[in-house]
Amino acid sequence: MSAHAQTRNPAGLIGRIRHAGGDSWSLGDKIGLASAWAAGILLCLIAASIVLYMLYRGFQYLSLEMIFSHPEAGLDQSKSGGFLDPLEGTLALTVIGTAIAAPVGVGIAVWLTEYGRPSWLARAVESGVEIVAGTPSIVLAIFGLLVFQQGFFSFLSYEATPGVAFGRSFVAAGVIMSLIALPLIVGASREALHSIPRHVREASYALGKDRISTIRRVLLPASRRGIGTGVALGMGRIVGDTAIVVVLLGATLQTDPQGNIPGLSFLQGTGSTLTTYVYNNSPVGEGGSPEKAYAAAFVLLLIVIALNFVVDMITRGRGPSWTR
């Protein structure tokens, strides 16, 4: 990172010019710099206080045993059970949602920036995605219920009576979750692709490469960081959602597989996530064990950090050469 700063300010030239020509920092500039510092520190403080608050409230219940035991039914949750099933639910749902949203989102972003014909279609797609960004997740959840309750989709979930699809399963929830992550991935990837200067593409065409190869070999690797940002933001949105889980996953305390094939039955079954577990057991839900809720919230934050780290690893790079 400091090497990056060096090349942006070669040999401290900017600093030296400043001193050579007298102090060129007006009062407005100094205030601006101070506010930039203040904003950065403020973000750190807010994040630290959220994490520390969760830790402080939930610390005595945070133990390995909690993470690896199943939640048990009971009004007084504080006496029994851990949150293994909600943990599985969070991981599974995040993976499914991101696995659908990332390729689709990047594909749409590529089409919008590199092709985008006919232009009315491109406009419509862009607006459509941004409209989804502004829809409350409960509306999307109810729409998802409508879709997956059609008899056609009954193989994706459970059937209480033949022909009537239950409509609630990991698959159903995963698909709708990908919808809420999509706008962030499309937006960030599109801006990353747009920030690649025209001359890079022209150079690639001049070398005889066709458009799709240019995209695969030049543009996508160059926009890795932006795509990584989009995926991280999208994952964050998925992890943090409650309404879709309650409506489309059933919010059952334990994961409840359907059918007999091990992997598939999990996907067809219902479950819950750490987010709904936290909500249910918090002072505002029906479960009545707030300390476990805070412990679960702390674990959730750890998972988020871990997932973001994984995304960082995958999209790591020194950045394209024209920004160095």
């Binding site: 510092w37 904003a39 950065g40 689709v104 092709y115 599109r190 801006e191 920030s195 160095r324």
Partner: protein, 333 residues
């Protein structure tokens, strides 16, 4: 992929065409799904608009009482009650979203500039995971911290008894208010803007800012005039995504803004910020338990339809703004 020999122009065109068709089909399929959702919402919402006409958007009467009347409609479809004047919700949504986005944009841009240019290396490496972590905190947890810590703080320590008494026959000032809503919402949408703005600022060719430095401009001013201007389209895109997020935020706002269908009065001075309100999205989440009562459900869908319309409007204004800004960048179109 196996290495191929040099392709003929014709082969290049064909693979290009196929790629374009495939990607276009993907985009169209997603568009179709989204269009289906929009049609679904509007179809369900239509009766509520039809019965009220343009008065739906205006003020009039107590919204909470109107909603209760709709919920308790008799069973005969021709007797369904639909009367609604949604102005308090619309006003609250515009107010809370607007202030949060303004505040959030200022803080985000300052933070982004800090991260890109002025932060020492170790702070920079902490801030990126911090921003992504903040973007992933569930809205439920924000809401919890809001009602456990922030609302009691304001209700018991900041709002004076005299202020509460001055409006006591109209509403109550118990701490849950538009102020708390705005504060927490700003924290929620800032990470999105910061993350995308940082990427945008980093992609500005360094030769541009170096050119400014060569003219004797200091680092702050170089970044502000050159870097921000070049990154403007991306910043606008980030602002659109953040505003959309703010519009759609339901659970947290329902918990901390007091959930009263009231239009805060700016003429009240400082008390204005402590007055409660309810946004469109919060109303939908509060009313989700009554969806099976037909007229009530249709009214909720009407609120959703209005949110969709606002997002569409937002999207179009963003596109328009970005189009004129692209001439300051090197982008392809």
């Amino acid at each position: 992929m196996a290495a191929r020999g040099p392709q003929t122009a014709q082969q290049r065109d064909r693979t290009d065409q196929r790629a374009e068709l495939a990607l276009g089909a993907l985009a169209s399929a997603v568009l179709l799904l989204i269009a289906f959702m929009i049609a679904f919402v509007f179809a369900k919402a239509w009766p509520s608009f039809a019965h009220n006409g343009l008065a739906w958007f205006g003020p009039g009467g107590n919204l909470d009482e109107q909603l209760t009347a709709i919920f308790n409609s008799p069973s005969d479809p021709s007797d369904y009650v639909y009367t609604l004047h949604a102005w308090p919700l619309i006003y609250a949504t515009a107010l809370i979203t607007g202030i949060s986005v303004l505040l959030g944009t200022m803080i985000s841009l300052l933070s982004a500039m800090f991260i890109v240019e002025f932060a020492p290396g170790w702070i920079r490496s902490i801030l990126q995971p911090v921003v992504r972590l903040l973007a992933a905190v569930p809205s439920v947890i924000y809401g919890l911290i809001g009602i456990l810590v922030i609302v009691p703080f304001f209700g018991n320590n900041v709002i004076s008894g005299a202020q509460k008494e001055s409006v006591q026959f109209v509403i109550q000032l118990d701490g849950s208010s538009i102020l708390v809503g705005v504060l927490v919402l700003t924290v929620m949408i800032t990470p999105i803007m910061v993350a995308i703005s940082v990427d945008a600022l980093r992609s500005v060719p360094p030769t541009w800012t170096e050119g400014a430095a060569a003219l004797g401009v200091n680092r702050w001013r170089a970044l502000r005039t050159v870097g921000l201007r070049a990154a403007r389209p991306a910043i606008v895109a980030a602002a659109i995504l953040s505003t959309a997020r703010a519009l759609g935020e339901a659970i947290m706002l329902s918990m901390v803004t007091g959930s009263v269908a009231f239009s805060p009065n700016p003429l009240d001075g400082v008390t204005f910020f402590f007055e409660p309100a309810r946004t469109l999205a919060a109303q939908i989440v509060d009313g989700a338990e009554g969806l099976s009562v037909k007229p009530f459900g249709q009214t909720m869908y009407a609120f959703a339809a209005l949110l969709l319309l606002s997002s569409a409007f937002l999207s179009f204004s963003g596109w328009f703004a970005r189009r004129s800004m692209r001439k300051y960048t090197l982008s392809p179109r």
